[in-house]
Structures are given as C-alpha cells and as structure tokens.
C-alpha cells in the first residue's frame, strides 16, 4: 500500500524527514508517534502528495507519488481520506456542503450522497450541526467534520493527523473506536497522534518518529491484519 525508500525532506538547516524507509501493507493499522516537530505532519503530507521529498522514492498504491504529474494527483487523492491537523474546512459552506463535496467531485448520485453524508456525520456525532456554517463551529466540532469528510468516500487509505487534539476523552475514545471500525471494514489507517490513550485503544503497529528519523517500529509483521 505505502512504501517509502530513503525519503528525506529538508527545510533549510532543519531536516523534517531524514532517510525514512518503511512500508505499510494493505489493511494495516499504523500509529505514527513522536514529539512535537518530529516530522509526523511532513511524513503524512509527503505520502499525500502535498509535499515533494528532496530525496527518496514513495510508492502509494504502486504509484510513484513524487513523480506523479500535477493533473494525476487529484485522482490518487480520491482514493484516500486525509484529516489535516489544522482542520481545513470551507468556512462559508454548511457542514453538509463541506462533507458532500468529495462525493460531488467523484460524481456520486445525489440520493446516495445524502445517505453517506448523514452516516458519516452521525459517526462523528455532529449530525445536529448539518446546516450550520463550518466556520461557526467550535474547534472540536470542526475536527470531527474533517473526519467525516475524510471517511465519506470510503477511502482505501485513511491518513489522520492528530484527529483528537481538540476533543475530550470521551469523544477521543469514540473517534478511536470509529477508526477501528473503518479499519475493520478494510481501510488501511495511518494515524499520527500524541495521545497515549488513543494509541493504546487503537492497538496497532506503532512507528516512532524523532527529529525526522524512525527510532522504533513495533514490528511490521505483528501489526499486519
């Protein structure tokens, strides 16, 4: 599913990623851990094709992301879900319109789309805010809408960057359970988080990142589904 070979990314003197090599099989459930500034977000963005690495190769679903032409990236992304750390929603649009957008882009029928959006919003517990402007939501609500948007198109691969940072324990537990369910339905999950509790609940393989390097990997074989 995901293969990184000696990937490095430098910002001036700071190396956000340094010679990172690992692979994640289809159906795995991987937790990306590490302190603030370790390079977790950079790693996810590189996999998502939002950042081009300075060195190394990345294969995602057998496509060389770093070499992909700009026009092909959207099609690759449609098979992925991404929950950004700084929850990017269109603030002027309603929650419903935000979540339905990936389905419109993929040309899903209206009735089917409505059903799926409803289910997604319900799963993250913000179905009562469907008609509210996304910009008016509280931080935790926005975070959950982003999760709903990422899972609405039933992605093959879900990348989530600190999806519980603005959620209380009860909600974080719910989100962890949701991610486990989605994983059980066949989606490969890569989750970057600080939250020890979420890590424990996810019961997945843990990749430890520190200063751009992988310092530990709780055995690739053990975590494979």
């Amino acid at each position: 599913m995901i293969r990184l070979f000696h990937v490095s990314k430098f910002y001036g003197r700071c190396s956000a990623l340094h010679d990172v090599t690992f692979h994640i099989d289809k159906g795995e459930k991987v937790i990306l851990a590490g302190p603030s500034g370790a390079g977790k977000t950079t790693l996810l963005r590189v996999i998502f094709g939002a950042e081009v690495p300075d060195e190394g190769q990345i294969l995602v679903q057998n496509r060389n992301v770093a070499r992909l032409r700009g026009v092909d990236i959207p099609y690759l992304r449609r098979t992925m879900g991404f929950v950004p750390q700084n929850f990017q929603l269109l603030p002027q649009k309603t929650v419903y319109d935000n979540v339905v957008l990936p389905l419109i882009i993929q040309g899903v029928k209206r009735r089917e789309a409505r059903k799926r959006v409803g289910a997604s919003l319900k799963a993250v517990g913000v179905e009562h805010k469907q008609a509210v402007r996304a910009g008016a939501l509280s931080a935790g609500e926005q975070q959950r809408v982003c999760i709903a948007r990422a899972i609405v198109n039933r992605p093959v691969l879900l990348l989530a960057d600190e999806p519980t940072g603005n959620l209380d324990e009860a909600l974080a537990d719910e989100i962890a359970a949701l991610l486990r369910t989605i994983h059980a339905q066949g989606t490969t999950v890569l989750l970057a988080t600080h939250n020890q509790r979420v890590m424990a609940q996810m019961q997945g393989r843990v990749l430890h990142l520190r200063a751009g390097r992988i310092v530990s990997d709780s055995d690739a074989r053990a975590g494979a589904a």
Binding site: A50, P74, R77, F82, L90, L101, P102, V108, A113
Partner: protein, 300 residues
C-alpha cells in the same frame, strides 16, 4: 449531473458571498470599458464626419466669359456623358454675380460700380462616390479642362488632400490610443479578478485536498468571471448610451452646429453586443489566467 449543477450553483454562490469583490470587479470593468467605449465612439463619429465632409466634392467648370450659348450647351452635354458626374447644374452669369455678392460682400462693393457683368457661366458637377478619390477627381478635371470653351476647372484638391492626410493621421493616432486603452482595460480588469481570487487561495487549497481537479476548481470562477464581465460590459454600454443621448440633446438644444446632432451616431447594435461580449471575454480571460496561476503554483 450533480456535478454540473454544483459548478453553476457554486458560481452563483460566489457572486453572492463575494459580492463586495464582485461589485468592485463589475464597476472596474464598466469604467475601463466605458473609457474605451468613449474613445471608440469619438473615433466612429469623427470618422463619419470626415467621411461626410469628403463626400461633398464638387468640381466647378468655368467657361470663357464670352462663350456663346452653343458652347454652353455642348459642354453641358459632354459633362452629362461623363461617368464620374452625377449631377450637373448651370450657374448663369446673373446667378454668379448674386453668389459673388453674397460670398464676398466687401469685395462686391466695387462690382456694382462696374458696367458689365464680368463673371463667366459655370457648371457645378457633383462627383459620383466611386470617383471620389483624389486621383480620379484630378483625372476627371484634367479631361474636362480639354473641352472646347472651358477656361478653367476648379476643385478643392488641396483641401481634399489635406483632409485625407488628417484622416489618416487621425486614424493612426486612434489606433495607438485605442491599443493603449485596450491594454489598460485588459490589465485593470485582469488585475481586479486576480486580486479577488487571491482572497480565495485557501478555498482552492482545500478543494485540492479532497481530490478536486484543476478544471473542477476553475469552472465556477470562470463562469463567475464571465457573468461579472458581461454585467460590467452592459453597465458600460448603459453609461455610454446615457452620456451620448445627453450630449446629443445638449447639442440639439444649443443649435450652434446645426445638423451635427443628426450626424452623430451611437454604435450599431452588433458593436454594442460586441462591447458586452468583450466584457464577458475580459472577465472570463482574467479568471482563467488568474486561476491557472493559482492552481499551477503548488503541488499541495
């Protein structure tokens, strides 16, 4: 289906949400196109005026003062046969004296003191439109000068040449100023669209995040730009028409250049339509250009 509907609805929503920027874009487009339009109108009317002045070319054929009736009739017949001559009218000796008195009242003072009428018979020949170039007129005049009994042929050669030169210079200047104004219009409108799109950078970034293609992102903006430009063009047209009618009425009321208000013409309908289409094209083009810049710059 849902996608097409989304793209149109999105354009309409943008027009509403960003109505501040949109209003600015419309007003800017309208002003820029109106500036260009004022110039075009000026050019069109001066061109018309020059044309209508040039059309009134008469050739005057003076006979010898002592030419007998028979020669007069003969010259008249030969002039009538000329393909370049449309109408030929005779000015008799008495008529010539009257006209001379009207034209030169000062110099006519002493004509009254002269015993005999010294003025010759003459013909005024209107030249047909097909022969109104300076070359044809002078060729015609030379031929007529060879007729027996003809003393002298007068036509405003200098005047025609000067007018032609003035018109050609004016047209040169018009093209230069027109190009400058057109460039200014395109720049200003393009920039307005560009700036108003800048504010939507984040929006575009988010759309890319969820797998939208460049085309999907661009289409609503291009539709929006086209609508904006069309409205701006329409507004410009309305401004121009209003100003034009006001000016024409003022001219009519003042009456100082009688008949000028009848010569003045507004754009013919196709040109009016073209102005609106130009606004639309400008808005569209500005959007495409700006959005391409925004889409292409980042892989994110």
């Amino acid at each position: 289906m849902m996608r097409a509907w989304y793209l149109v609805r999105e354009a309409l929503t943008n027009l509403r949400v960003y109505r501040g920027s949109v209003a600015i874009g419309i007003v800017t487009t309208a002003f820029a196109l109106a500036c260009f339009g004022v110039f075009l109108l000026l050019y069109l009317n001066l061109h018309n005026l020059a044309g209508s002045l040039q059309r009134g070319i008469d050739v005057v054929v003076y006979l010898n003062p002592d030419a007998p009736e028979q020669t007069v009739a003969e010259v008249r017949r030969r002039l009538r046969e000329e393909p370049a001559a449309v109408t030929v009218s005779v000015v008799s000796k008495a008529q010539a004296l009257r006209e001379f008195r009207d034209a030169f009242p000062d110099d006519a003072l002493f004509l009254g003191e002269m015993g005999d009428n010294p003025l010759p018979v003459s013909f005024v020949v209107t030249v047909s439109p097909g022969f109104q170039t300076p070359e044809s007129v002078s060729a015609f005049a030379e031929r007529v000068e060879g007729f027996p009994g003809v003393a002298h042929v007068r036509y405003h050669q200098d005047w025609i040449d000067t007018l032609a030169l003035v018109v050609s210079y004016f047209e040169f200047g018009a093209v230069v100023i027109g190009v400058i104004l057109a460039v200014a219009t395109v720049t200003i409108v393009g920039n307005t669209v560009h700036l108003s799109l800048q504010a939507r950078r984040e929006e575009i970034e988010i759309l890319r995040l969820i797998g939208a293609t460049g085309r999907f992102i661009a289409v609503p903006h291009v539709i929006e730009g086209a609508m904006l430009g069309a409205v701006g063009g329409g507004l410009a047209l309305a401004l121009l028409k209003g100003a034009f009618e006001f000016l024409r009425f003022e001219l009519y009321a003042s009456g100082w250049f009688d008949g000028l208000e009848r010569i003045l013409t507004f754009f013919p309908d196709p040109v009016s339509l073209l102005l609106v289409l130009a606004g639309m094209a400008l808005g569209c083009g500005g959007s495409v250009f700006s959005i391409m810049g925004l889409i292409k710059t980042r892989q994110g």
